[in-house]
Subunit: 385 residues, 2 copies
């Protein structure tokens, strides 16, 4: 079956994703019966491009280099029903593109890949993009933590109403499964809480400081590598970890919190000095994210913690991440990401795409039963144990 993709946001991750699709094209077709093509693309800087017959690799490359249009006039329609235009509101583009791809949308073959830059304070513009795409009958895949951190419950409801999937594995630990792990492989089980190391930059800085590197130098290194956010405070002050914590709590614990509701302390040069002292005692300081049910509410926190040396989180070096899930039936399960890369984030998008493809191809006519995670959202779950 062929799936049509709308790319909203087209930075390094989306480009690596498109390259990955090309690299794996024959394998996806042969092993999974899945073919894909990009029909639309939109970024704030480069404008918007759509062609229902599919955009060629060349068209995508030319878009990357110069955008679809050098002028600033109205949309220019092509003879094939395609169009290109400079940056009008992206939400309008999504509405227009999903209408143009109406047949694919009705057949559940239309997927928006959302990778715009996050505004940490509101989860926008991604949230609006997702609502528009779902309303237009497209499934949504995003690597963006913002929408899940700020408005998971509403978006999940919108997806339910639209009978489309909303997936976001890349929001935490790149393509290493956390959300999909719980939804697909831990049915009929409750997640009671979790703790983890989910921000690579701060973990790298702490590790480097232990080895004598100054704070600023370690940070600059991560920025040069493209791992740290351009605005370093997002990492260092714990905002990134707080957003991921809110996303995890909303999805896995059925909470309805935002990143601002996560108690938050970041790392400072002083934290790093404490890390050196701890190390000499066989202990380690890590920026730990944690959340859990306390009575009938979820509490969530990001803060430096001094951990015993044999704590699983204590042994995470450099950019490694890990999440330890506390469950009612399996006690603790840990998932560890041993390294991060652009390919891993791109793979998160691919794995969500394949989850959607599998669903649609398994039950093209009927509606898939709600998954356990979708069920988890219902408030009734909260009081059960």
């Amino acid at each position: 079956m062929r799936f049509d993709l709308l790319l909203v946001g087209y930075g390094h991750v989306a480009r690596r994703f498109v390259a990955l699709l090309a690299e794996r094209r024959s394998r996806l077709a042969r092993d999974h019966g899945v073919r894909t093509r990009v029909v639309g693309i939109a970024t704030r800087r480069r404008g918007q491009l759509y062609d229902g017959r599919g955009l060629s690799a060349r068209a995508l490359e030319s878009y990357w280099v110069s955008g679809p249009s050098t002028g600033s006039g109205p949309p220019r329609a092509s003879s094939t029903g395609g169009f290109s235009r400079p940056a009008t509101p992206t939400v309008d583009f999504i509405r227009h593109a999903t209408r143009q791809s109406g047949a694919a949308a009705r057949q559940r073959r239309l997927i928006m890949i959302e990778t715009t830059t996050l505004n940490i304070e509101r989860g926008e513009p991604a949230t609006s993009h997702i609502r528009a795409a779902l309303a237009g009958g497209a499934h949504v895949v995003t690597a963006n933590k913002g929408p899940v951190a700020f408005g998971y419950r509403g978006l999940a409801r919108a997806a339910d109403r639209a009978k489309r999937r909303f997936l976001f594995e890349g929001a935490v630990m790149d393509g290493v499964p956390v959300f999909n792990l719980v939804r697909e492989t831990l049915p009929a089980l409750a997640i009671i809480g979790f703790r983890g190391v989910v921000n690579s930059t701060t973990n790298y800085i702490l590790t480097a400081m232990e080895q004598g590197q100054p704070f600023g130098e370690a940070l600059a290194e991560m920025q040069a590598m493209g791992v740290a956010e351009a605005d370093a405070s997002l990492d260092v002050d714990g905002w990134d970890a707080a957003a991921k914590t809110a996303a995890l709590a909303n999805v896995l614990l059925g909470a309805a919190i935002t990143p601002t509701m996560v108690e938050r302390r970041g790392i400072t040069p002083e934290t790093a000095r404490a890390a050196i002292d701890a190390r000499t005692e066989g202990r380690r300081v890590k920026l730990v994210a944690r959340a859990g049910w306390e009575g009938n509410r979820v509490t969530a926190r990001v803060a430096p913690e001094t951990l015993a040396g044999d704590d699983l989180l204590a042994m995470l070096e450099g950019q490694q991440n890990a999440i330890i899930l506390q469950t009612d039936l399996l006690e603790e399960i840990a998932v560890v990401q041993r390294s991060g890369s652009l390919t891993q984030t791109a793979y998160a998008l691919l794995s969500d795409l394949m989850t959607i493809a599998r669903d649609v191809m398994a039950a093209p006519a009927t509606r898939r039963a709600p998954t356990s995670a979708q069920r988890r959202r219902t408030p009734s779950r909260r009081v059960r144990r």
Copy 2:
């Protein structure tokens, strides 16, 4: 939807599973629309019992206490189409029971739960049970590593032909997802190899020895707790780990090996002494299972290895298990089981049951597309990378 269960084997794990179903009955019905009932039960020692209308909790308890029949005559039919009989060949019972439950089988609502004791040298009798159940139209869930270690490819093919599922999450790391993790959450990705600590008894002995406990005493403790196999050599000589390694290699790497083809060294009091020495140097000895593609064949090994102190496997204490998967797109991912228990093995059965239920309920009429793991079996995969 209601699922009918045939229990083949009824030891501690199966009994905990039945209790778990009872504990979660209302939740499974409300959150997942899944109801279950036991219609048949067979063990070598207690004989066989079947009632297509469902066996009551009282019937199960009485079976546990005294078996279905005190005589040794022919099957005794009840007026309701049920029957009980002393131990005739279990395969015959499965054939008979799947015929009696023909309607449920045709509607894909019949599931055999296989938990018999493993004959490590052949993977029997579980393998024959599974073939008979699939042939009779039942899905199969097992916590038994034998069938997957000895004959995965043939059984997977039989399941494909029968259009039924054959699931076995409990074969390795209890209910902590490994097989389901790869199949459900890592689509379009190749597992290149893995290494892990997969036998709890040997890891417990090594940990205890480091702390000064004698080898035999640590082993006796694990046997008393019911964690070690009654025949201690299965654990200590690495047989259990070798069977799990073969199972993992067959399913995740597309190999076709048996436990006897796994290079194997177990632990001895000398290994444990080496563990003490290693510990003084900040290193640790673990019984490591590993397998991977080398050229165009899979090699697999179980042996004590001296690991650096910061190796994830080095930090596994007591009964903890972990598997580190080497992948082509996500580099290394690790899954860690932080503790083991009867409930965790029982949960493995429950999670597989729920996977089947989700499938059947999502696409009651159509056939589900083959999963990526099923696809992985095809030899074509081997040469790709």
